[in-house]
Structures are given as structure tokens and as C-alpha cells.
Amino acid sequence: MVKVELKEATKYYGKRRGVEDINLSIDDGEYLAVLGPTGSGKTTTMYLLAGLFTPSRGSILFDDEDVSHIPAEDRNVGFVFEEYNLFPRMTVESNILFGPIVKDLDLIVSRKVSRELLALLNISGKESNLPDEISGGQKQRVALARAIVSEAHILVMDDPLRALDAKIREILQVELRKLVKDLGITCIHATHDTQEAMRVADKIAVFKNGKIVQIGTPEEVYNHPNSLYVAEFLGESSTIEGKIAVSKGEKFLVLSDGSRINIVTDLKKGEEAIALIPSELIDVFPLTEKKNLNYHNIFEATLLDVRCVGEFNELDISIFGTLFKAKDLIGKEIPLRKNSKVLVATDKDDYRIFPKKEKEDNE
């Protein structure tokens, strides 16, 4: 099995930067998600790994061997694209066995592996169907089986679930992770969808403008974003600006209207800061609950709107003269009415604090 490394991998398209100085190390059997918006360098990285591009500078190593100039067909990398790219006139099984035939592998063994993969992916019985006769989700499963069947030790996927319906996407995320872990292959999966990245991966690399800005476990990246960019990209949140103040050993963000939010930060007294709070960390209660609450920050606010969007209730709240968005799993009764006064409760470590300068840098 294979450990994958990128060392200062850089790719320019003429003068335009694809990716620059990408340093990444993916352990044998690890599942890495490459996360970023369109144009952040995800696809370029996938193509470099697969061998469809050679780096302009830097190197790519599989098990410490430099493969930067080894062509795609000799790398033992399985590749899955957003489009399924199945041969339309070949059956499901012929599509899957195309690689083994070209590579002259033992077909009896390959057919057995193919059947096992189809069973793992819950599409047994479709072997003799043509691609047109199966659904999008099934096609992507076939593409996945095809990528793995030729003894690939590394699986590279470029937004493989993007074209699928939300429901199928959800199901396939779980199946994908299970398959990769069951087979013990090293997997790199590019996506623009944070929940997908968190769902499938052991580690996430967040990309911005062709560079990696943070790498870590889903929890590290989400709970400890190292920049405003990462924090804003990873989830729905609200932000507010103020100045740091210190009182009795506690730090506060003092807003322009004089309100004080208890926070945790390394920033010093007097520094201008921006506080970000993820929507799911804002708790909202009716005014009557005030006595029963045990939070660092409790503010009175106006509830502008409540919408049920399936698993979550979304709440728009007007507080400190700005709009805050809160999100809560459904299930709990919320006796809250539009345009009523409510209590907004947060803890001091719910806020991610960044120097205000960073916001200007982002813009």
C-alpha cells in the first residue's frame, strides 16, 4: 500500500497559477479531502497526482519514489471524475474489466474482484446492463469499481458526487468511506462541499487561490480555523467587529454600541478584532427562560424569521444592529414567534476571533 507526498508541487498554465508550493503527506490508507471553492486548485492537484499533468516545479512521491514524470497509465492510480465517462456501448462489467484487459491482468481474478466490488457498492445484478439503463448514482458506483479493479492502491477523485441528487450523494458519501477503509487504499477526494469533506475524510486540506491554507482533522479545521477565510468557508456563520478589552482576567469584544461579548482570544487589549460565530452554536430561548440559563453571554434580541429547512430550523436574529443567523436541529419544540423578543445565548469559546486586518486582506 502507498504513502503519497507532494513536495512544493507547483503547476503553472502559461503564466496563470494552477497550484503553488503544495506540501502534502497522505499516509498509507488515509482518506484526505481537498476542499476549496471553484478555481482554488483542487482539480490541478488531482491531475498532478493522477499523472495527467506533470508539475512545473516540485515533486510527487509514492512510497518515497519520485513519480513526477511517470505517465498516468503506469502509476497504479484509480481516477474518478465528476462525469462518469463510461463507455456507452459496453455493459457494466465490460466497462469495469476494460482496465484489466488492457493491462493484461488475470481476467478470472479481475471478474471475481469486480463482482465483489459491485456487491460492496450495492449494485450486484447490473453486470450486463448498459450505462443508459442504470441511474446516475449507479453509474458513479460503476466508475468507482472501474477505478479500483485494476489493483489501484491510490484512489483520486475529483468532485465525484457533484452531479448527483442530494439524497444519493448522502448515501454514497457513507459508502465511499466504508469502501476505501475496507480496502485499505489511500484516497484523495476533491470537493467544494464542507459537509461532504467532513463526512468522508480523516483529514481535510483547505485550498485558496492555488495554495493550501490549513490541513487537519475535520475537528481541528472546523473548531480551530487558522484564518477568517477557513472559518467562513467551512460553515454558515455570522460576524461582528469590535475592540478587545480586558476585565478581571476575562477578555471581551466591545462593540461600537458599547455591548460586551465575553470571548477567548490571544489578541491584546485595544486591538481591533472580528468575531465569527457558527450558526449552530447560537442558542435561542424565550425571554421567560432567563433564570434557567447558564451561559457566558446572554443578550436580548429580536427574532426576525424562523424557517424549517428539513433537519434544521433556521433563525434570523437582529442583535447589536446586525443580522445573526442561528441553526438548530429540529425536534426541540421552539415556542418562538416571528418578530418577538428572544434571548440569544452563547459561550465564550463559541467565538472564533481574528485580527481585523485579516478581513481587509481577504477583501
Binding site: S135, G136, D165, A166, K167, I168, E170, T194, Q195, M198, R199, P218, E219, Y222, N223, L234, G235, E236, P278, S279, E280, L281, D283, R307, C308, V309, G310, E311, F312, E314, K327, D328, L329, I330, G331
Partner: protein
Amino acid sequence: MSEIRFEDVTKIFGKSVEAVKDLSFIIEDGEYVSLIGPSGCGKTTALRLLAGSILPTKGQIFFNEQPMENVRIQDRNIGFVFQHFAIFPHMTVRENIAYGPTVRGRSKKEIEPLVETALKSVQIGDKSELYPDSLSAPDWQKTALARVLASEAEVLLLDEPLGALDQKIREEFQLFLRDLVKREKLTAIHVTHDQAEALTISDRVAVMNKGKLIQLGTPADLIYHPNHLFASFFVGESDFLEGVVIDDTKKEAKVRIGQSIIRVKNMGVEKGKRVAVAVRREFFQVEQISTKDLSNSLPGIVIEDQFLGLLRRVRIKLENQQIIEAKIHAKHPIYFKENEKVRVNIEPSITRCFDYPKEGIASALEM
């Protein structure tokens, strides 16, 4: 005034492909209804039947009790907005909006105020002299909407109208769209693959699968009271616990699941029958074994407690080997360890109890 009624509408393509089957429903005047379902479920076919771009093989469609059989598409008083913006690139926003009333032979004097009102209603008056290529995607959709308004349509058909917009803009546009439809008193039918969008925007949502209407209800109905196995599977996420009814006499029926007995909401089940108890994943309460009040719970072993930022997902293997997944609050105070013994609490009032499908759950939920 536009009430729409489908009466046993079936559409067969070619010799035998039943795209929609026996569709019967009423959309009331001024209602906002979304159609959701997996790819190929028939939602776009239903919209095309409504528009009149295809005709039913069987059954009838009525607008205000008037059969539409022989009414052409241009005479149905319908406006369209698609995912890919069908606006003319060589015309300004204003000219695009004026196009409808112009081809209908309205005089210049009549057209002017229609266009002005429409521009104002969608809030793009300041861009009226621009050409589409200098506009952003949301403004294209606003132009398309203004064109519908200026043509005085009463029914608005939307096919993935927000499909090409980025997530953040999309969410803002949903509220704008709903507000516009209500203000202009249109009857709107909206096809989308995004169920959160359908639930946010609509008065009622129709869930379709394999050409059939599964359930038409308010967003709250679909979330809290799905009346069909497929509806509870498709909207949000649920797990289905397989069991046998052992007491059907009370408001809460008793069901044996593995070695345990739990109480579920009695939706008219029969003693001795096999059932599938649907529970939304966010309604499961996972408790450590030491917790006292475990009156209606199933024992299990934690496989994984996965952190997802917005929430956590705890995968649990129940005593009967079934694997379920509980979605818990991001701030839940306890982290569950692998192989930890837990109990999964189920509040009877939030369960939905369905007859166990003959073909098995997996086949019944095939999309």
C-alpha cells in the same frame, strides 16, 4: 384566479415508459407548491404537462375547472423560468420584459406601465437599459421573472430556477422569490432537486417517485407526519426499525424490536403484523447506560461518533445488528467512545409506523 387540478393524469413516452402515473391533485389559487423527488421521478414531466408542451396519454388537467385538453401553451396564461436563463442576449432588460406583451399585440401605451411595474417589482429598475451579458446570474433570473409579470401570467412554472446560483445567493433568492410570488398573487409550481429549498419556499411540497405522487403536504407535514415509507426516507434522513406489533389496543402501540419492546405512535397497526418504525435521525436520543430515565429505549453499541461541525453523527449497532445513525447537537456534552454501550431513546410521539413492505425495505425505497 388560477386553481389547477390534475385528474388521473398518466403520460407514457414511446410504447411503455410511464413517466407519470395516475397523478391526481389540486393546487389552489395563489399557492406555492414544489415538486421534489429523485432524478427520473416524473417531476419535470408533470411540469411540462401543466405547461401544455406535452399532452397526457390519459386523464385531464383543469385550470379553474376548465379542461386544458385543447388549450395551446400560449393560451394557458403561464409564465416560465428555467435554470438556464432563456432571455434574449441582443435585447436590453427592458426590451426582454416588453417582449411578451409586444407579441401579444399590446399597444406601446399599454406596454410601458406593465414593464415599469414589473421592473419595480423585481427590483432591477436601475439595470433596465443594460444587456444580459453585463448582468449577474441572479439578475438574469430577475429579468426572466419580470418578463413573466409583464405578460400578466397567473401561473408561474419554475424548473430548477436557482440551479445555477451559488449557495449563498441561492438562499437569499429563495426568500425573494417566495415574497414576489405572494405579493403578485401568482400560483407557483416549482421543480427542484433541493429539498431544503422546497421546504423553505413552499406552502406545500409534493414528493414523487417512479412517476407517482407519494405525498403532497405542508413542509411540517412532511417532516413530522410523513404518511408513506418513501416520504419519510426521502425528506430528511430516517432509520427504519423492523419489528412486530404485540399490542395494538392503546394510543401507543407496542412493538417488539429484537429483544426489546418499545412504544410507538399507533397509526392503525394490527397485532401480529410486521412493521417498519421510521424515526428521524435527529430525533434519536443517545444516552449513556448509566442514565436513569430509559423508559422507551433500545440498547446498542457505538461504532463511531463523527464530528461534522454543524452536528455530530453517532453510528450505533443495535442488539438486532441493525445499524442506525443519530444526529446530535454540535454542543452535546458527551463524546461517545467506540464500543461504548449506550441506549437509544425514542419518544413515541415522533415515530411513524408503516406496514413492512412485502418486497423488503431496500426495494421499497428504490429510487
